[in-house]
Symmetry: none
Subunit: 225 residues, 4 copies
């Protein structure tokens, strides 16, 4: 891997593990066993590194949220989207510990972040619309975007929420699934009576996933069954 990419990935790793505020450019250089000067050869400044990490974030989100023109809307598809979102959140969780602060510092990053988020929201709303048309959701058209937004919000702040409001502050994959179940709960509240069962099955699936985090050797096919 090129030095530039090494710096991005080391920074991301260290930021996630110990918080962006606690990681200096010298920490990153020392971790990679390169000189601080070399780090600044590849990046103008620390903000520039963060900006590059956001670029990575954006492409993760974009590639995981591909629209699905023409395909039939399935719950699996929708869940695929949420899987993507939660995985992205895990990968870039340092951002969500400190989102306001980071975005306030760099106007350009803020704009790009908002654009990416807006696109993700549009796609989510589009899917919710289809689910409504298909009789899965009992919801008025004008409530669709607010609902998508609420779900996104819970996803975005779940990590920060867990870290501050739960006794055990360490974030794990299991605690992320807990967040997913919370989103599903809201989803289910808007489900038509006929689709309640489907949502129940989804819940059971993710509950199993959360449990699996502690039993990693089990092969999981809970949804398929």
């Amino acid at each position: 891997m090129k030095t530039r990419d090494k710096i991005i990935h080391a920074s991301l790793k260290l930021f996630n593990e110990r918080g962006e505020r606690n990681i200096t450019t010298n920490h990153i250089a020392a971790y990679l066993k390169i000189s601080p000067g070399n780090l600044y050869y590849h990046f103008r400044n620390k903000e520039d590194i963060i900006s590059s990490i956001f670029l990575l974030y954006e492409s993760h989100l974009d590639s995981g949220f591909q629209p699905y023109m023409g395909q039939e809307v399935s719950l699996e598809l929708l869940v695929g989207y949420f899987d993507t979102m939660f995985e992205t959140l895990w990968e870039f969780r340092f951002m969500y510990d400190n989102l306001t602060d980071i975005l306030t510092r760099d106007e350009a990053v803020l704009k790009r972040y908002q654009h990416t988020q807006q696109q993700a929201l549009n796609r989510s709303s589009h899917i919710l619309s289809k689910l409504r048309e298909d009789g899965v959701l009992a919801i008025e058209q004008e409530q669709i975007t607010p609902l998508a937004d609420t779900m996104r919000m819970i996803a975005c702040f779940w990590i920060g929420y867990k870290q501050t409001h739960s006794i055990n502050a360490t974030i794990t994959k299991a605690s992320l699934y807990e967040g997913l179940l919370r989103v599903l709960m809201i989803f289910k509240a808007h489900a038509t009576p006929e689709s309640q069962g489907t949502f129940t099955r989804l819940e059971q699936h993710y509950q199993a996933m959360a449990n699996t985090c502690f039993m990693p050797n089990l092969d999981v096919h809970s949804l398929a069954s």
Copy 2:
């Protein structure tokens, strides 16, 4: 006002306006035109100032969330609680820009914060239970606490969310009402058919309130009518 209180309020103001990480003790002293030594005469250190602000936060929350022994549960009462929460969040919004970081630094504050939040959650759950018994909410008993928790979560992170995900990042009272409406939306999703109308009226009330922010001279009695 006593110097000690001046320091607390100036800190709160500056933290809210420019972020806690960007405000040094010297900034606070300079803003108040007192010496850094004087600031440290009144507070052991910066953490101590923050701790005192949290004390203020806790008493705001506690006094606004008085239990209502004996009274009849009304939507108005519940809404009063949310009004309190949203106003408190506004007053102490700097915390939510950086909650993980702040709470990680001071174990004692973390414990107190979590205790306060737990009590607020208990009271919310209690009210939801009553609403369920009164046939207002169609929700299983075991879903009550998760629902209360979700609503709290949206309340807690609404400001941070707005600040980072909306184009116009400036937080106003109107944008807080927007958050309130979002919570109501979730609420309404669990309403029994008979109480749908009540929730609709509530929505209209808060919508009016939000609009009034731009027309402050109008006397508002939207709920009464």
Copy 3:
């Protein structure tokens, strides 16, 4: 006791226990539950307090080192002097942790200290002379002052020496007697053959004293026997 004296004695106590450098004027005031302003009403500054402690030190030394015109020189008398010195050292031990530093800061105190020390040295030399005349010490007249000086030096720096060169750094009365025995060792090296026995008895006495520190209830008459 008057506030002024309370300040002197509290300062002495705190300096001895925790080191002069580690005790601020605010510490002293807080310990006495008086205001810093009051402390500065009684003393111009910290140096002034230290100067007053030195005054106390000087009078201790002077009163314990009264010349003994006319009396017969006895070993008991001499030992009385060393008892005084060691007790004074114990009482004012903070000085000897940091003597250079303290005396460098205040010219006037330095001069007074040196004067007091010179007088103590003169008296010691005078006694040694008599002991020589009485056939107790086998020493040339011109070696008398250097010998007195060496003994004083060991006395003065014993505490500092113990604190830095022994594994167990805590200073106790017992460790002071250890220093006394060291001085006696030098003394004995200059004893005439006839007086060796007397010095041996002295050593046994102080050895017993050192042991007594751990058995405080025993009545000690080791010298008398």
Copy 4:
């Protein structure tokens, strides 16, 4: 010279001249016309600088106190040791102005210091034993270590003693020779009658050295004659 070494030597110089407590890291940086940041690039903190100075001290002492396997014990050899000790003390005299304080602050340095001192003491005792076997010293075997210890003590605190107890507080090489003569005095007190002459000659030698300090151009062969 490398910056790191410059910092060590400048610190040593400034500490010796003005006392360690009175020299801040900023003083050192200013003296060397480097930035405080640069100083902290080379040293973790002030303790780290002091620790490095102690390393220097230890190697000075170790290299000057090489054991002398097989050689015949001569007074010259012994005196060589004391020369080393006194010169080392001169070079690092700031330590002895404040030894308790400095060693109390850093456990690791204390341990190393005590180890170095213990080794020096062992070697001194070993030499004294040989001198006793050779009929130079009239001393019981069990008194050897206390004697070595006493001599070391005088050496260690001579500078501090002179600085505080003599009218002319400025330390010179001549005043160091005075300390050496003091140690010799104790030594001589334990000499056998046959070796008294040798010690007298030694005294004369060092007396001459002390005088030479004021006549630096004279070639000194006082011992040889």
